[in-house]
Symmetry: C2
Subunit: 327 residues, 2 copies
């Protein structure tokens, strides 16, 4: 079996090759922003997951390239359009497409990426591509739904923890789950095995996103590699904030709501104040417990998977790697 690092190198090279090919296609104003987006980099987590899942069953991993590329291109398409909707300026240290090119370029090149993603998934070598394409399509629409809930929550003050968990399931977890299942389907895995891998991906994805929320508040800024407190500054209704609002007594709750509704504030003062309230309410530990519950559920899915134990090593390593991002 390939190691995660080997798969990362292999798929990074493949993505760059495809990006260069796409970027040289006419009309250049359509395809250049596509290759720019794909070349922005990243850990290539989702295509690696697709290759890892494929590699549990077969060694000719190039057969999983179409699914892996489809998923990475679709993921980058959602980032591209999300950046327009969020009025973001930069991503991974580089100007976003709607700043570097134009908003129209970002809209249309994004549309093209969504279609290109389908073109890759349709290249999967299977006797019947209906199931893998429907899985991909169902995931794609769920990601749109997750993004809509995320935007809806910005202006709602009555978001429940259940609603939040459903939002991150749609916005983040389903694509990780889809990556694994698509890889398994491409390898011709049995339906129950493919379905269990999907469940594993959902639980791992939930743990991953909740940890992302936690790190945004409590991580060591240097090790985490991005600015801390962004979610607090923008009043994002994460698990941490919703749990704090649920647990806080009246006076603390009013303090917290005061910071959320404040029109003018000093950013670092706000971050410190909210973080202090979180500490008083033991939010860090409570979130950590929630993360561990999802992580344990994922490990249980993996234990129960009807695949030889030594074939699961890649996914175990990946899970550990994903959950240790601040070390």
């Amino acid at each position: 079996m390939y190691t995660i690092q080997q798969l990362q190198t292999i798929i990074a090279e493949k993505i760059q090759k495809e990006a260069d090919r796409i970027g040289a296609t006419e009309p250049l104003n359509l395809y250049h922003p596509v290759s720019y987006t794909l070349n922005m980099g990243g850990k290539r987590l989702r295509p690696v997951m697709a290759l890892l899942a494929y590699n549990m069953f077969r060694d000719d991993i190039e057969k999983a390239f179409p699914a892996a590329l489809a998923i990475e291109i679709f993921h980058n398409f959602t980032l591209l359009h999300d950046d327009i909707m969020d009025c973001a300026d930069m991503r991974r240290g580089q100007p976003v497409v709607h700043k570097k090119f134009s908003e129209n370029a970002a809209i249309l090149s994004g549309d093209a990426m969504s279609i290109l993603a389908y073109q890759y998934i349709l290249q999967t070598e299977l006797p019947d591509i209906r199931q893998v394409t429907q899985l991909f399509s169902q995931t794609a629409i769920e990601i749109c739904e997750g993004q809509q809930y995320d935007m809806d929550f910005e202006t709602r003050m009555d978001v429940t923890i259940g609603e939040y968990l459903e939002m991150i399931r749609l916005k983040t977890a389903v694509l990780l789950a889809c990556s694994l299942k698509a890889g398994a389907l491409a390898a011709g895995a049995d339906q129950p095995v493919a379905d269990s891998l999907y469940e594993f991906g959902i639980n791992l994805g939930m743990a991953f996103q909740l940890q992302d929320d936690l790190l945004d508040v409590f991580a060591d800024e240097e090790k985490f590699g991005k600015t801390i407190g962004g979610d607090i500054t923008t009043n994002k209704k994460t698990f941490l904030l919703l749990k704090a609002l649920e647990l806080a007594k009246e006076k603390t709750k009013q303090q917290l709501l005061g910071w959320i509704t404040a029109k003018r504030f000093d950013i670092s003062e706000k971050i410190d104040a909210v973080r202090k309230i979180y500490s008083e309410l033991n939010i860090q530990q409570i979130t950590q417990n929630e993360i561990e519950a999802f992580y344990k559920a994922a490990m249980k899915n993996l234990d129960e998977l009807a695949v030889p134990q030594d074939r699961k090593n890649g996914l175990v390593s990946l899970s550990e790697m994903m959950m240790k991002r601040d070390h």
Copy 2:
């Protein structure tokens, strides 16, 4: 066989039913703009073409609904995103989505429509859906390319007639051709017949778009049902303008370029002046000849189609209907 009017009624009802179902799905902020867009109306030309093509071979036309709906939803998605890019305010007498809802709603709901279109095409009842889905996907990416060329041409002064014809082939003709071929494939038609129907659709689509350009300049405003001269006002590099620039002697060419580059002008004065130049250069007749060449090619495709003559009547009627829009 069904008449065109019957098919229009059947598909209009089906679209409304689907639009209502989609519009009642959570999150409403995502799906309400989708149903709003689908309920804006229109002649439903593309889904009717899919049903007509299917009906050449089989009578159980409900089997062609998934392909017909996919194509109509995709077409409406392109209108939705084009309206953002063109900064349009109104469509079919109603406010466009980015005005009625918000720009973010227009972006994200459009993305969802593109994915929904794939979900419908994937419901086509065929032993192997790869071909029809690849046809749809290839068409979809070509439409993006057409839109990009159209936007590129706005700032280019060296557009050739060949480039213009290729742009309208991509932006308009391929979706009409895809509608026919998808209907034929859904009915299990032979490959050569499906391919010939595609060619017929391309030629008919070219004639249709060139006539649209012609009517925008020379139609009877009341009968045409929309304002005349829009292409002249916005300096759109249509066949008419490009042919006029090609044929005009130096003095007339400078007059024409003067109008195109003018920053300030009286709209009706500009329309009258450009129309007068077109008349001097016999542009109306030349365009009419071009339209007839494409139309004749379409009729030749239809004649040569290996299908009983009486089964072609629907497509003959549709072609006549499409080419007599100002009468």
